[in-house]
Symmetry: C2
Subunit: 483 residues, 2 copies
């Protein structure tokens, strides 16, 4: 790798910080280095406005080679780097805490190759998810990853966090869509394996290790994504169940009946369903009456509108006959489909009265999910008897979400509620992060989910790949002294 850096005029009277900025300008040009008051607000805060970031400067490279040179500059100056994607993370994984260099990949937003024959696309990390989705659709193909922040989240960010969403049941998380990867390591070297094949057993599978490592092992610069044929039909329904006991059987039955087509199986507990649908009553009717214990939103994606709907209706009728559900409504139009989805997905307005809130993203086995809900509910109620709590989640993936409205007058409320819920997760052997990652927010709870031996293994890997702790320091792993 070429490591020579074009020198801007450096004078003997410059401070170390000024020298660093001049070196960085030498790599990316003066118009792509910002410091001090030049740094826009969007680089300083996360989507939830929970954290604030204090970058020393923001640098915007345009190529992998520039990223590698920036890493060399940072390494020489012993200044760490934090990589920014769409800044839509919810655990503070992209926050510069100690005056680091913020590396924004927004200019690395090219779709490098679209290979219809191999059903892959090769993209730079800064490509926005929605643009990648639309590019795939224009070729009659599907990039299955989808999530609410699609309009700003980037491919690099969804790789860094191993993003999930509402179709994991069928197509997996981002890790399952990344066939090839390129990254810049802490020593400035470029590792590149932009393969298009599903199978590649030549040595250690470092790609899957990097996916989900939240920028702490290196900087992802490009990826080859696996695409699927674009579905031609979507069948959507909302089901009501009298108790959770039927959920696992219902999932197995529908997954078997709709062989290969079941793409979504989203669970909403009664409290969530009542709260969200009530908040939306001015825009739309409540699709099923209140009074059931749980509600399930399901969707199949197929190839043939008429045939798939017939199969869908038949399967749901049989589920009712078998007593696996007590009521069901099937969307007959796109508008009805959007209405069903809104109850699960259109939460921004509905949640407003809940702020300040604590949000949870945890996983347990499906079997343990109702136990987790019961335990978490009573643990929180012990602390705050009247707290509003809503439970929902991607049941097919073992992923439970919850929100708890916090007492705005109790500064310790968030920590107390978090501790109480994560203790329940720990006791059931679950994970404190299903899809959002650890970042800053969950670092101190990592040991609830990972044994000391696992944390030690993670530290070994981090130490080997980033001995000087230059890559997004202070994230994922707890401080070794205190935990």
């Amino acid at each position: 790798m070429e490591t020579t850096i074009r020198k801007y005029e450096l004078s003997a009277s410059m401070s170390a910080g000024d020298v660093l900025l001049q070196h960085l300008r030498g790599v990316v040009g003066a118009s792509n280095v910002f410091s001090g008051s030049e740094i826009e607000e969007r680089y300083r805060s996360d989507m939830m406005r929970k954290y604030s970031s204090t970058p020393l400067c923001v640098v915007r490279p345009s190529s992998t080679e520039e990223v590698a040179k920036i890493v060399q500059v940072a390494r020489n100056a012993k200044i760490p780097l934090t990589t920014l994607g769409g800044c839509t993370g919810v655990v503070g994984g992209g926050m510069c805490l100690q005056g680091e260099i913020a590396l924004s990949l927004e200019r690395m937003n090219k779709i490098i190759e679209f290979d219809v024959e191999s059903m892959t696309m090769t993209v730079e990390a800064g490509v926005v998810l929605q643009r990648a989705q639309e590019e795939a659709e224009s070729h009659d193909l599907l990039l299955p990853l989808d999530l609410g922040a699609r309009g700003s989240a980037t491919i690099g960010g969804t790789i860094a966090t191993n993003a999930g969403g509402v179709r994991v049941l069928r197509w997996g998380t981002m890790r399952d869509m990344v066939l090839g990867l390129e990254a810049v390591l802490a020593d400035g070297s470029i590792v590149s394996s932009l393969t298009k094949s599903l199978k590649d057993n030549a040595g250690y599978h470092w790609r899957d290790l990097f996916v989900g490592s939240e920028g702490t092992l290196g900087i992802v610069t490009r990826a080859v994504l696996r695409l699927r044929p674009l579905p031609k039909s979507a069948q959507t329904a909302l089901l009501a169940l009298n108790d959770f006991g039927c959920v696992p059987q219902l999932l197995r039955f529908l997954d078997a009946s709709f062989a290969g087509q079941l793409s979504t199986f989203e669970l909403m507990w009664a409290d969530f369903y009542e709260f969200v649908s009530a908040a939306q009553l001015q825009q739309r009717q409540r699709p099923l009456p209140l009074g059931s214990a749980v509600y399930v939103l399901i969707e199949t994606l197929g190839a043939d509108v008429g045939r798939d709907m017939e199969l869908f209706e038949r399967g749901l009728a049989e589920a009712l006959e078998r007593g696996l559900a007590s009521d069901v409504v099937i969307a007959q139009t796109e508008r009805e489909r959007a209405n069903l989805w809104a109850v699960r997905d259109d939460l921004t307005e509905a949640y407003k009265p809940l702020f300040p809130l604590a949000a949870f993203d945890v996983s347990v086995s499906l079997k343990d999910m109702p136990h987790l809900v019961d335990r978490a509910r009573s643990a929180v109620q012990q602390l705050y008897p009247c707290a509003t709590m809503l439970f929902y989640g991607h049941a097919g993936d073992g992923n439970l979400h919850a929100v708890v409205k916090l007492d705005p007058n109790d500064a310790a409320a968030e920590a107390k509620v978090e501790g109480a819920v994560y203790e329940c997760v720990r006791d059931l052997g679950g994970s404190i992060s299903a899809e959002h990652g650890i970042g800053l927010a969950k670092r101190k709870y990592l040991s609830y989910t990972r044994s000391p031996a696992e944390v030690a293994l993670m530290r070994s890997i981090k130490g080997a790949l980033d001995p000087d702790n230059l890559m997004n320091p202070g994230k994922v792993l707890p401080d070794s002294q205190t935990h």
Copy 2:
């Protein structure tokens, strides 16, 4: 972890080797330690009889804790360990080369928990694949991994090699079926993450790094496997195509038409099809006439025999109409289905006249696959103008297999043919191992597929996790001096 080891009578006059054996007997009992002539042939050779192994001793632990104690004993004695599963590997990954301790997990063959509700099974590493498959089927569930050696390959071995097979297109490789993993590291610690959820983003995903690492990073002792609803219908057909050019389009068309149900898409070049079907003519008719350029075996697995066959026939008729295939035969009975599969899968007898042979397992993008076949064919023909060469593979995965009959009088033939074919793979940016791993056989070709930066990254990981090189030494990574 408890590390005390029961002491057998150690006397001052014992050799270091005897002391080691006594310590090992102290861990697993005298009846589970073999040395010298007590070591049976099955521990000494691989399935292909290509390599021979010289273990110092064979140890058969019955629990993870015993494995951890054995690692401690080995570490104290500075003797490396090689883990043995079903000994069906084809690249020599399980060969003890330097008088190591052979750790056979054959006694760790318990199915620990079958969780129908979560659609998972938790097994010890020594469970034979076929037994795990049958256990799943008895609960109306499917463990999708399948391969010829199912009767002896173990779950641990298929994890170590990230086994593939003929259904990767739909359900992925072994990595995609491993939700939870437990392993013993080189320092004797036990890392255990026996999760049952599809989503777990709490820290580095070390599980996926261990899958496919061929026992060089640690010893896999248990796993949680993801299961699927057991399909109720299987539709199988053989298609003939006049040229390769239609293959990518045919795959996309069928994958889209059979939304979610296409499970197998196996490609056979004319030479392979002619050779194998000719060898089988005494047992069964050739299912389609010779004369086409490529043949494709496809299968869909679904939920409804009648409906799925109707969909299958309609899709294939449309493929013929569109000119994506020139001929097709659909199996109408289980016997016909077995006959179609035999052409692709029942190779043992057919291959006998080809020995000695060189076998290849490589991957490239689907688009490049015909180029690889052409280049490899002419490269081999330049060396041996009359060599018999057969090409086939899992086209949906970009995985090409080939066999080349070697001149038995030319001792250098294998190395020459290998070098020639791997050069073609390198030039097309492919992988020298799609599903078999690197082991011993492909170590010296790793740099054909992996850049120096990637190999350095792999060495960093290996060095961090196994600094004394105790875990299956001499496999996967080339010697650092020579490559």
